[in-house]
Symmetry: C2
């Protein structure tokens, strides 16, 4: 009886330990994901804006539609502002004129790129429209990057490092590198309306101030 009692105790102990170990590993994984994302203090508008742009891999790129009577036309696109640990703040795209967005921009380059914090997973339980769930709209001109330039090389590295399948996209689609020359920044990251943020403050923010572990 003593042995049996001891066996049941050991079994129970093992069962509890396995459960704790598994709970820990699950919670640890979730915690480490959040920690890696390192959301800046909302009071720091430049840090929040640059973090949003560097952490996201896709957004909605808006142009003036040729086909739809000048309507504002949003399109889901992938983008990159630099290597994963070293964003520039300037979004680059890999677009084909088979798609309306590139065709529109080549005719009228007014454009904006809109990005939400929501898909990063750091908004908690608030609604995507809640102002504490940050969002940014960069408005400016969508321009073709000069072929065979240093900037094209930068755009290629920036995009292909974050979007590995791009290098294999079909050659006959004639994908080309575009960039958004930013003129205005609309940032919401807390209550109280858009955060004042100039283009200079945005572009001159040093990414090393964000200890992002990707």
């Amino acid at each position: 009886m003593k042995i049996e009692g001891g066996v049941y105790y050991v079994l129970w102990l093992i069962f509890v330990m396995v459960r704790i170990q598994i709970q820990d590993s699950v919670q640890g994984r979730l915690l480490s994901i959040d920690n890696n994302k390192n959301k800046p203090d909302p009071k720091n508008a430049a840090a929040t804006a640059r973090w949003l742009v560097s952490q996201n891999s896709w957004g909605v790129l808006n142009t003036i539609s040729i086909d739809l009577g000048g309507a504002p036309f949003g399109n889901v696109v992938s983008f990159s502002d630099g290597l994963p640990d070293n964003g520039s703040g300037i979004p680059y795209f890999y677009l084909t004129a088979l798609d309306p967005t590139a065709r529109n921009a080549l005719k009228d380059n007014r454009a904006s790129l809109t990005i939400s914090e929501y898909p990063i997973g750091t908004c908690g339980k608030v609604d995507p429209e809640n102002p504490t769930c940050a969002k940014i709209t960069l408005t400016g001109k969508l321009k073709l990057v000069d072929g065979n330039s240093k900037e094209e090389e930068f755009a290629r590295k920036a995009l292909f490092s974050k979007h590995s399948e791009m290098k294999d996209w079909p050659e006959d689609h004639n994908f080309q590198f575009f960039k958004l020359e930013i003129e205005d920044i609309f940032l919401i990251d807390w209550f109280g309306g858009p955060k004042p943020l100039t283009l200079d403050q945005y572009l001159h923010f040093q990414m090393k101030e964000l200890a992002i572990v990707l």
Copy 2:
């Protein structure tokens, strides 16, 4: 020795069973999430479009900017096309004129709503710009819903059922219900360019054809 051997065998058995149980419960959860999302066959454009709109809770709403010289201005917004299990296909919004999107629309109602499959989590490992990761842009007119109308009641139920915090948003912000009167549908859900889909096909698709368990 026999007893000890038996004990180790039982311990090993319990360990294996606990592992299997935990793996099953994790996989089961993942599987059930995917099953609930029930992505339609990409060949069925109407089903895919209505599924994308009913499954998503947020998108980018694009208007012509008053403040930025007529630039296309995208803004992250929450929306709803109906109760969770009974979408209408028509997106409704809860907007305040403190925000540029509502102000723009009240001046020039040309607008589009852009939605990606990516945040639903059913795109697998492909890039957000890969055409097999579906995306839709509904273009039309963004209009205020008549106050105290049946449609306003529908919009309220549609939005508040999917966005529970909206009912508590500050009264002094004067949030109002808007809808997008759709005129054109741009849908990418596979290779080969946009899927032909008329407004009639889209609006008349019966949601009960999608066995969505939410």
